[in-house]
Symmetry: C2
Subunit: 302 residues, 2 copies
């Protein structure tokens, strides 16, 4: 019943994307889902699979997380990430880190090596150093494409959201052979935002949640709406307490609860039986999935 689903952001973009770019995204999503699924078929844990997948997406400048992050109005990269282990609801997250190459790896350290769940900013980086992790200059994360985007916005140009998923995130949810669920999410945040703005990604229950026997969830989109609706936990509570099938719970959140407060974005989720659910109320969502039946899909549009 192994299953892995990943996302690379939800947005209004895919229609306008040149074919070569679309291919690059699809190839990257395929590589990442294959690498994560190989961990599961090799007997690895869902936790290892989701962290590996998210770290690969962080390293790929195509996606808004790690290198290639969307930039603040001060043109700096500020990164958030979270991971949750469905076995015991342990969780770790970091927010506003500016010099951590793979925020999801630091989130995992917070979960496994500290008594805390969420560390912010300089304190999170101090913890990283104490853990023997190195720091990267902020410049590593800033790509020309993201700089051009924030500059265009600041010059008041009417910039269509040409960059795929510039308001997005990356994430992964998996079920392993032992029946354990895990979820991880990482983001560079919104382009041209106020420095210090924290979205749903590092908030357990909003952008990331996992509980064995129930489901794992990772969200992408306009983070404030996911925070106000406590989106990931809303889905888990619907499955656990309302006996709602996972796909219905995801659809309810995406097409009823979120639009009720004007929220836009998407959800990926995996149920305790390996069911994969993905849905979004934006024109597209970058995603890929593989499961034990041999199904492998990579998609960007509807």
């Amino acid at each position: 019943m192994r299953a892995l689903v990943i996302h690379g952001g939800a947005g209004a973009v895919p229609v306008r994307m040149p074919e070569a770019e679309r291919t690059a995204y699809e190839e990257s999503l395929g590589r990442v889902v294959d690498a994560g699924f190989a961990i599961l078929t090799g007997g690895g844990t869902s936790l290892d699979a989701v962290v590996t997948a998210v770290a690969m997406l962080e390293d790929d400048p195509l996606f808004n997380a790690g290198r290639g992050a969307a930039l603040t109005r001060d043109r700096t990269a500020e990164l958030d990430a979270a991971v949750m282990d469905g076995r015991d609801q342990n969780a770790g997250a970091v927010t506003c880190v500016t010099r951590i190459k793979n925020p999801v790896l630091l989130a995992r350290r917070v979960m496994e090596e500290s008594s805390h769940v969420l560390l912010a900013g300089a304190g999170a980086e101090e913890f990283a150093l104490e853990q023997g992790m190195g720091l990267m200059p902020n410049r590593y994360f800033r790509t020309g494409r993201r700089l051009a985007h924030v500059e265009s916005m600041q010059h008041g140009e009417d910039v269509p959201d040409l960059m795929p998923a510039s308001q997005g995130t990356v994430g992964a949810v998996a079920l392993d052979t032992a029946g354990d669920l895990a979820a991880a999410t990482s983001t560079g945040g919104l382009t041209n935002r106020l420095p210090g703005r924290v979205g749903d990604t590092p908030v357990i229950g909003a952008g990331t949640y996992a509980k064995n026997g129930v489901c794992g969830v990772s969200a992408t989109g306009e983070g404030e709406s996911f925070m106000r609706t406590v989106a990931a936990h809303h889905i888990a509570a619907a499955v656990e307490y309302r006996a709602m099938p996972l796909r219905e719970a995801v659809t309810e959140l995406v097409h009823e609860i979120l639009p009720g407060i004007g929220g836009r974005g998407g959800i990926i989720a995996v149920g305790a039986d390996g069911t994969i659910a993905t849905d979004f109320n934006t024109p597209g969502m970058f995603r890929a999935e593989r499961d034990a039946s041999g199904r492998r899909t990579v998609a960007i549009g509807p």
Copy 2:
């Protein structure tokens, strides 16, 4: 059906507290609940009542929020706060602010004057300045009592938790005449913690939640457990979707869900009908409540 309940932290302390100190706490809690309830009887909103009550508790050095905050291992004060409006699930929060006299007032500005929900650190303070709010030196928040506590802990002394609610928070939940619910929470965090550690207080769904027709909730205690269980939203979901009476939902969270992961603390909540629910799995919780029936209680122990 007006109702207001406030808390000033949950902990192991009350038994050891000198009588004069107990009286000082009870008098302060009484003053605050009276001031907040006067807003409700004067036709004010639940939002004004909870923000006013929490700001008063922040100003009082007896409580672990605002002035008198528990200090980090670097002996600095880092403050978190959140507020949520039950009418539209709008919410605002700040984390790791070090120079904001009343973090709950800044949280309200984030909710009402920005498109964001959560702002952290220097970015939150920059937003405060842009809003015309002044900054306070960090020294304002540090009291001799909290400094002595963190120093004792760092010298390896076996310090019983003599300071009431040093791991606590302050919070308020109210229902107004219009039937609108609101909740607010504020904290100075854990003594001797890693700088940058964020607890449940500023996390919507964990330490703070409000939804009209359902309930408002504010939590206090060991924050990581409230984050991992998405405690406040767990209670709201039980009321909304499992038709569980509010008091049962609070008791389930405090005595079943939280202990399941070793969590300690307490909850205050108000239902859509004005029912007040308070419960805790610690020896005591500083609290006070008033409702439309004329009941007024102030309590610290069981």
